[in-house]
Each structure stands twice: as structure tokens, then as C-alpha cells.
Symmetry: C2
Subunit: 228 residues, 2 copies
């Protein structure tokens, strides 16, 4: 390999390493935000909820940083084929993680809208769903870091269980609202929280599909997923 080409290859590897590092960091922040949002919700902790919203700005700033870095890599290194696919995947993954962060922030924002005096019963069923969604985010980031298409596939396969969990919580909440009309406004907030968690799972699955594509060049068949 001529020296200049080798130099370019190394520079590209460094650049893409920087992109991957930024994305892993973003993912870590998003994962903590989900866990913290569920704690804030359980405890009715408005201070923690505010901190989550403030921390989300860091995730947003990192997405902008990923975008700038990716554009710089494309402009300077003019990557081809696999390399270009990896840079484009990084751009898209960062934008999905940014949205996962937004969902966590959104859950946190609902905390002050739920009266802390009566800790309504359905609150107790949400943390397990929160853990399931956060675990999907955690695992897809590991799959991304390891460029492991099999691990990515395993995350996709867990999305159905999360969807079923959501359906069951939806039914539970509606039943509870019928029996306790005074809690309707709060239960409506919890319906949105459950939907946010279900959406986090969809986005983790979306990242998993991108990791799979970036690693193999093969697109997984587009799954049927809703949005809310």
C-alpha cells in the first residue's frame, strides 16, 4: 500500500472511531435517562425529572457533534462503499438515540402532572416495562460497539414481547380508569408513558436494523411497526 493511502486509511479509522465513541456515549446517556425517568415517575420526584430534561440537552448537542463529524469525514475522506455506509449509519443511529433521549425526557415531564399524594396503583406496573425498554437500548449499543449482527437481531426479536407488555398495560389502565374515574387524567398520563416506552423499544429495534445493515450490507425485512 502506498504511504499516502495508508495514511488516509488510518485517518478514516480514527475519524470513524471518534464517531462510534460519540454514539456510545450518547447511548449511555439515553439509557440512564430512561432509568432515571422511571425512578422519578415512581417517586413523584419533580427535581430528578427536571434534571433529566436538562441533561437531554447534552444528548442533543452530541447529535449535532455527530452530524458535524460525519459531514467532515465525508468532505475530507470521500469514503466509498462500506465506509460510506458506516458513516451514513452513524448519522442515522445518532438521530434515533436523540429521539430515545426525547422519549425519556417526555416521561420525566409527565411527573409533575401526576399528583404525588395518591400514588395510583397502575404506577407499580410500569417500572418492569421501563427496564425491558432500557435493556433493549443497552443491548443494541453493545451490538453496535461490537458490530455484531447476531446480537442486533436478538434485540429485534425482543420487540414483540415489549409490544405485548404495552397491550397488557393499556388494558389494565383502561380498566382502572373505568373503575376509578377520578384517576382518569393521571392514568391518561401513564398511557402516554407506556406508549413512550413501547416507542423506545421500536427505536432500539430500528437501531438494531441499522447495525445489522451496516455490518452485513443486508437489509432486514421492514417490520410492521406503529408510531405514536
Amino acid at each position: 500500500m502506498p504511504q499516502t493511502q495508508e495514511h488516509t486509511v488510518k485517518a478514516f479509522d480514527q475519524d470513524i472511531g471518534q464517531l462510534r465513541g460519540l454514539i456510545s456515549q450518547m447511548g449511555g446517556l439515553a439509557e440512564s435517562a430512561i432509568a432515571d425517568a422511571m425512578i422519578a415517575l415512581q417517586r413523584g420526584d419533580a427535581t430528578l425529572a427536571e434534571r433529566i430534561a436538562a441533561d437531554d440537552k447534552r444528548i442533543d448537542a452530541m447529535e449535532t457533534e455527530v452530524e458535524r463529524t460525519a459531514v467532515r469525514i465525508i468532505a475530507l475522506r470521500a469514503p466509498m462503499a462500506d465506509d460510506l455506509r458506516e458513516v451514513v449509519a452513524a448519522l442515522k443511529i445518532a438521530s434515533v438515540i436523540e429521539r430515545i433521549g426525547d422519549y425519556a425526557k417526555n416521561i420525566a415531564r409527565r411527573v409533575p402532572r401526576i399528583e404525588s399524594e395518591h400514588r395510583i396503583e397502575p404506577l407499580s406496573i410500569l417500572p418492569a416495562m421501563g427496564r425491558m425498554a432500557a435493556a433493549m437500548v443497552h443491548d443494541v449499543l453493545n451490538a453496535f460497539a461490537a458490530r455484531d449482527p447476531e446480537a442486533a437481531l436478538a434485540v429485534c426479536e425482543r420487540d414483540n414481547a415489549l409490544d405485548d407488555f404495552y397491550d397488557s398495560i393499556f388494558r389494565t389502565l383502561v380498566t382502572f380508569m373505568v373503575e376509578n374515574p377520578k384517576t382518569i387524567s393521571e392514568c391518561a398520563q401513564l398511557l402516554f408513558v407506556a406508549k413512550n416506552l413501547e416507542r423506545i423499544g421500536d427505536h432500539a429495534t430500528n437501531v438494531a436494523e441499522m447495525v445489522y445493515f451496516a455490518a452485513t450490507g443486508v437489509r432486514l425485512v421492514e417490520r410492521e411497526r406503529g408510531v405514536d
Copy 2:
């Protein structure tokens, strides 16, 4: 200008024209999908609802086409600065329009879950909100086609009115649920529909911000927006 360079410029303009055309088409489909979803919801028309879900696959396919075209442009033309920014903006805008289409599909999917025998009263307040959201999508696509930053800004400014509309519908629905507990399950579906429309407005605003940035190189200050 040397002949080859002129040739490259023309080729780039053609390529970017193709991208813009694809995005306008996608936007038109998404706009119709919103209008049709609201009609299906009003009429309880499950057949129309199914057609919307089927048509959404065309929007998805077009997003993939935009992605392929953008990657090809970057690889072949190695655009710099403003041109690169426009290609990256096109990629991101296509992904947002794809999501707007998903929201319309999601509204359509709720149609069979709402009993058609009793057309519950709150159904009547949703179409106006649907029109407001669809108009934002329509206008932001015009701003994109005309590369008009002022028109893009005007779309951003309408998002607050849509948010207020959502808040008012949320309150109306909760009050209705308290007074008519038998309709809770259906009203919960309508809560999600209203939230979907509010999210469509957020996404139109998001596109408007990208159009503004692509046209001026200046980022609008990140607005505070939720996600659901």
C-alpha cells in the same frame, strides 16, 4: 469554467433535482395520508384505513430511494460545503416525512378500534386539528420546494397554536371520559390520535428548521418540544 467541471456541476444539479423531486412526492403522499386518515376516522371507514396503511409502504420505499440516491451522489460527486449540506438535509427530511406517513398510518390503524355504532361526540373536534397539521406539512413542503427560509419560519411559528389545540382536546377528552366511563377505551384511542397530530406538527416544524438551515446555513435555536 473548464468543460469537465461544468459537466460535474450540471450532473450534481440534476442529481439534487432528482432528490428534491422524490421528497416533494413523498410529502404529497404523506399529506394525503393525513387527510384520508381523518376521513376514515370520522366515517369509521375500515376499508379506507387499510388502504392508507398499504399506501404507506410507498412512502417507505421512497425514503429508501432517497437514501440510495443521496449515497450515490456523495460517492460520485463528492459535494462540498453548501452542496453537501443540501444532500444531508434531503436525507434527514426524507426520514422525517417517512415518520409523518407513519403517524397517518397509525391514526388509520386506530379506526377499527373505535366502535362505529356509537360515533362518540369528541370525534367531531378532531378534523379541525387534522386540517391544521396537514396544512403545516403542505406549507413546509412548499417552503422546501421554493428554498424559502421565511416561509419555513412561518411554519415553525404555527406549531404553538397546534400545541394549544392539542391541550384543549386533551382536556375535553378527559372530561368526556369522566362523564361517560363506557367510552374510556375509545376516548383513549382519540387521545393518541390527537397526540399523533400534535407530533405531525412537531415534525413539520422540524423539517421547517432543516429547510431554514439548508437555505441559510444558520440553525434556528432549538425549540423545546416533547415527543410521544
